[in-house]
Subunit: 161 residues, 2 copies
């Protein structure tokens, strides 16, 4: 089995000292009586290499290119586990396809979507995060994250009133 290097801290998250992602995942799997297989290791590796958003088919294609052949079914099955492990998050941008992003050890990333051009701008804003946490607690729940898309148009191109 391909033992993973300990490249847990990816490029967008260098400040915090966190347990290696690979260990996190193994612990999660063990705790559920699931197994850490070569395929899951490869997929985790591929996910760690992604910056920003990615899609299941994209991952499949890139792994195929990199000669890391894993079946489509396994990708989808593993993505589910990664989401449950809190390592990646599902970000819904359009309804046709799921997008994911690495979240382990990262602050929540939100998006401004330019509906005129489909351009997507990432941002992080503590005021938003704090407000979301407060709202969540006000509803009696402990916040575990949020997902925010803000839609805007280029000034001058108002949408239908």
């Amino acid at each position: 089995m391909a033992e993973l290097e300990d490249n847990s801290a990816n490029s967008t998250n260098e400040e915090a000292i966190l347990p290696p992602l690979c260990s996190i995942f193994r612990r999660f799997l063990k705790q559920r009586g699931l197994k850490f297989t070569a395929e899951r290791a490869k997929i985790l590796d591929a996910v760690m290499g992604k910056e920003g958003l990615f899609q299941a088919e994209e991952l499949l294609w890139e792994m195929y290119q990199a000669e890391e052949r894993v079946s489509k079914a396994t990708i989808y099955r593993t993505i589910k586990h990664l989401v449950e492990a809190g390592i990646i998050q599902e970000v819904l941008i359009d309804s046709k396809q799921s997008h994911y992003q690495l979240i382990y050890g990262q602050k929540p990333i939100d998006y401004v979507v330019n509906v005129s051009s489909d351009e997507i701008i990432e941002f992080q804003d503590d005021a938003i995060s704090d407000l979301c946490d407060a709202i969540c607690r006000a509803k009696g729940l402990e916040p575990v994250g949020h997902r925010l898309l803000i839609f805007g148009v280029k000034p001058g191109e108002q949408p239908p009133e």
Copy 2:
């Protein structure tokens, strides 16, 4: 053709005096050289009767029950126009199915999702809306809306760390 009653203000929005939704939609269609048909009228009617979230198949089923038979294809085609007309909004909750909600004349509704139970709590918060608008303008875009989901767990049931 079934001429619509002027029931434009639905139950969750009684304060503002807005042009009837039906007129809004007709104007939108005319402006694009599209036609206002009996089917579109029936679908708009069904949408106006919905409170909160709904799905395409749900609408289809309810209309079927109400003897307002419209084909699946027409539902989907009309939903697209309603979104473009700014009458309904797509709300992405899970990646399997699109959810929609009436937005015309309504303040943006956001959601707190209890991931332990899949319960969805609606809320409105001006601070969030204002902050979103400000962030959007800071990116050089004119805000047209946003979509926010906050995820929380029942205290005591922390998700995997």
